[in-house]
Symmetry: C2
Subunit: 138 residues, 2 copies
DNA sequence: TATTGTTATACTCTATAACTATA
DNA sequence: TATAGTTATAGAGTATAACAATA
């Protein structure tokens, strides 16, 4: 298992998995900004500080990526009515459309690589993957 | 699944999974050199050019990491008897001992995070992970 | 006093280009 | 001519430090 994990965690694997899904929108979303966009999609409206926690980077990094995604028209930043220091990040209709396309292409890539797996193995893997991911973020 | 995959592929996840396993040898093996060491353990004796393919980086990067690991006494570089241009990388006894320790600590971390999983789920996950990793490298 | 967000800066890691030596 | 390995250089991405504004 160690070998499989080392392979999966390699930087090149991330590029390899993201590249085909991001290709059509490569000019506005790259492999480092996509995690921010994905987190806003899942947890928004959310502040940049909380995004940083989910994405696992420093606040300054999340802030810069969010600014870039705002410039690209994929998300908006509105003052948090409950805290004037914070900005709440939220997807624009264009952002929602872009992420829908990315997810659908990513799913196609993944499903293709599992096409010849025995029945049930893929479902069990996805189940385990979700458990493992949850364990990491707790 | 997309969310779980984004989490797993995050740079911070790699650090989080490797950190406890590498801590005792942090002065000689870090998270970017470990994949090189692991590949030498699995495929050695092997040339730097082939290591680069397995690790998914450029030749120059693999070469530098290998040089550092040699300086640390974890691997040796001997001229390939079949090709005087190439150097064959191979673990030293110390290198084997170090990687044994890393793998055992990594296994402990992973097993701990799966401790409360239902019977069979962990095995199915590992099976799927290995299949998925193989699909990525082909 | 602590926290949010931002900017300037330095650091790490990587790829590209150029070179030598060998096939 | 092509490939293995190395070194110098530039680029991308990140964290640290310092700042203003608000809790």
């Amino acid at each position: 298992m160690e070998a499989a994990l080392v392979t999966l965690l390699a930087r090149s694997t991330r590029e390899q998995l993201y590249a085909p899904a991001l290709a059509p929108v490569a000019d506005i979303v790259d492999t480092v900004r996509y995690p921010v966009l994905s987190a806003v999609a899942r947890f928004g409206p959310i502040s940049a500080a909380d995004i940083a926690i989910h994405v696992g980077t420093d606040r300054t990094v999340a802030s810069r990526h969010a600014a870039a995604l705002e410039t690209a028209g994929l998300l908006t930043r509105d003052v948090d009515p409950a805290d004037a220091r914070a900005w709440l990040l939220q997807l624009t209709p264009r952002g929602r459309s872009v992420i829908r396309g990315i997810r659908s292409r990513m799913a196609a890539t993944i499903e293709a690589s599992m096409a010849d797996w025995p029945d049930g193995v893929a479902d069990a893997f996805v189940d385990g993957l979700e458990r493992f991911s949850r364990a990491l973020t707790e």
